[in-house]
């Protein structure tokens, strides 16, 4: 059994909105799970299930209301305090987001975006080394560096943008990648090749991955384990085969029923 690299314990996030009449929204409700080295898991749920909030907390972009996230045994909120430790964390745990449009500042070139990732590196490097590493990473994801380095995001297609985001992951080679709906805005024929890049990451660098998605089909394709989230809770956990063949929770059953399938039909 390979070792656990990320542990999520009793994680809860409550949003308070309103000034006078406060309303509490429990986005994430006491969830527990872990990720092993080289493992790909999926958090599956519809909008409002709390899956994105969970992703933000693990990426240390959002402070949880209670509970802990342990990476390699270190509590990411308690044990990581200074910039150096933060950089170490993000070097090891990084993310790819859904919207390839808002993931780029329109005033930045791809070169700038890629160079920025070197903030996370401890070692000093000269510019040429950095650029050659960037080119290497861009080639890995099937892009031609010379063509895109000096372009801005809006000059690239959605698929290419998403590849640039994945190239950043290839550049820093983290231990864990959180991919929040990385292909939901990408067309079907391009989607698989993007997903294969994630599989390549795992095969080449043993990178663990957490896929955040609403798409049960995508989850069954990529993951070793699927966690179904509903209203802030993890209601079911299992391998793709288990989830598809014998779902136990009523929500999972309902979800499976409402997903349109290719080889069966609702109306006759």
């Amino acid at each position: 059994m390979s070792k656990v690299i990320l542990e999520v314990k009793n994680l809860t996030k409550v949003y308070r909105i309103g000034l006078i009449r406060q309303k509490e929204i429990v986005a994430v409700n006491n969830i527990n799970f872990n990720v092993k080295e080289g493992e790909i898991i999926s958090l599956v749920g519809e909008s409002g299930s709390g899956k994105t909030t969970t992703a933000r907390i693990i990426l240390r972009l959002l402070r949880p209301t209670s509970g802990n996230v342990l990476f390699n045994g270190k509590d990411i909120w308690r044990d990581i305090r200074n910039r150096k430790e933060l950089k170490w964390y993000w070097r090891n745990v990084n993310g790819v987001f859904q919207d390839p449009y808002s993931s780029f500042n329109p005033t930045h070139t791809i070169r700038f975006v890629m160079l920025r990732k070197f903030n996370l590196f401890d070692e000093e490097m000269d510019y040429d080394t950095k650029i050659s590493m960037i080119k290497e990473a861009l080639k890995e994801v099937g892009l031609i560096p010379e063509e895109i380095l000096d372009k801005r995001s809006f000059e690239l297609s959605g698929g290419m943008r998403q590849r640039v985001l994945i190239a950043q992951i290839f550049l820093i080679r983290p231990k864990l990648v959180i991919a929040d709906e990385p292909t939901s805005m990408i067309d079907a024929t391009l989607r698989l090749s993007l997903l294969d890049l994630f599989l390549k990451l795992r095969d080449e660098f043993k990178t663990s991955q957490i896929f955040i998605t609403h798409d049960l089909g995508l989850a069954t394709y990529t993951s070793d384990r699927i966690l179904v989230m509903y209203k802030g809770k993890i209601v079911e956990e299992g391998t793709p085969e288990e989830i598809l063949n014998k779902p136990s929770h009523p929500y999972t059953k309902k979800l499976l029923e409402s997903v349109p399938k290719l080889y069966s039909k609702w109306f006759t």
């Binding site: 067309d187 391009l190 989607r191 698989l192 394709y221 499976l256 349109p260 080889y263 069966s264």
Partner: protein
């Protein structure tokens, strides 16, 4: 119309060699470039394709929503024997929209005016299209809402008081109040969660089953959704139809290399799909769809096609009928 022989069923929709281009500063975007589509029986047709293949432009053109820079370059649209091209915008508005053809737009969620109650919207629309009295209109609306299992109270609400799925179902009910021959649904469910999506599709199918509309053209990028409801699937690529056939045939045995790549790359939560995808790696498509300003010569799919031959680069393949009602436009299937 010209060739309406006795006994022949008048076709619901007839579109021949239809071309609609965008004339932009960057060049002419040939978004729909020579498609044929005719519907002559009760049926639901699904038009599938990926972003930029021209399917939304086709939907726009079929629902007469043609505004510069989009222009119809060639081809007639004939609906219920009426040639639409010759009509003025005003005539189309009065005689066709909602009466012969109804549209469920891509943005169905936000398609109802937020400051007007559902009831008065229905009244305003039907008053103009029919000679009905307000009372008759409301009776019709209530009857239809009951038929489709929609809450009658929704009539007295503002659109934003309804949930997203309910808004779409209400919109479907309103659009089809006058039993149009043809309903065009352009990505009606793409913004919805799966459970809501199913309810909307049920309403759509209900309308069809009860004969409230004769035919539906369902346009979507999501084949798994489309196949739930349609009888026939048309695959569109780079402004052209590349393959057409019955739903089961198309899903189980796509012929065109593009259809294969498209259908084999769909991920649904079915174990066979996962196995199939893992095995069928060789048909997976590489590259991206071409620009429609300068489409590739010959077959527009050839730069991405794993089976591309010489002729594909030079000549455009014809649409041939390989079996009864099974059409494909690919040199691989042309017997020479």
């Amino acid at each position: 119309m010209n060739s309406l022989a006795i006994g022949e069923i008048m076709s619901i929709l007839d579109v021949r060699n239809f071309r609609a281009y965008y004339f932009t500063k960057a060049g002419t975007v040939k978004a729909v470039d020579g498609v044929n589509l005719s519907i002559d029986k009760k049926t639901i047709i699904g038009i599938v394709g990926e972003s930029g293949c021209g399917k939304s432009t086709l939907a726009k053109a079929l629902s007469f929503n043609v505004e510069p820079p989009l222009k119809i370059v060639k081809g007639d649209i004939v609906i219920d024997g009426i040639k639409i091209n010759d009509m003025t915008t005003d005539e189309i508005r009065r005689k066709i929209l909602g009466i012969k053809v109804a549209l469920i737009p891509q943005s169905a969620m936000n398609a109802l005016v937020p400051t007007v109650k559902i009831r008065s919207f229905i009244k305003d629309v039907l008053k103009e299209k029919t000679g009905y009295t307000t009372l008759e209109i409301f009776e019709l609306a209530v009857k239809r809402f009951k038929e489709l299992n929609l809450p009658i109270e929704a009539l007295d609400m503002y659109p934003f008081e309804l949930s997203g799925g309910m808004r779409q179902r209400v919109l479907i009910a309103i659009a089809t109040l006058l039993n149009p021959s043809l309903l065009i649904a352009d990505e009606p469910t793409s913004a919805l969660d799966v459970s809501t999506q199913k309810m909307v599709l049920e309403t759509l199918y209900d309308i069809y089953r009860r004969g409230l509309v004769k035919s539906i053209i369902f346009i979507s990028h999501d084949i798994a959704t489309v196949r739930q409801i349609v009888d026939e699937i048309v695959v569109m690529y780079a402004g052209k139809f590349v393959e057409k056939g019955s739903t089961e045939e198309m899903i189980n045995e796509p012929l065109h290399p593009y259809s294969k790549g498209l259908i084999f790359s769909i991920l649904t939560p079915e174990l066979i799909v996962r196995e199939r995808v893992r095995k069928a790696k060789e048909v997976l498509l590489k590259g991206e769809p071409p620009s429609l300003i300068n489409p590739p010569s010959g077959c527009r799919f050839h730069p991405r096609c794993p089976y591309a031959m010489d002729i594909c680069r030079r000549e455009e393949p014809p649409m041939i009928e390989v079996e009864r009602n099974r059409f494909v436009s690919c040199w691989l299937y042309v017997k020479r």
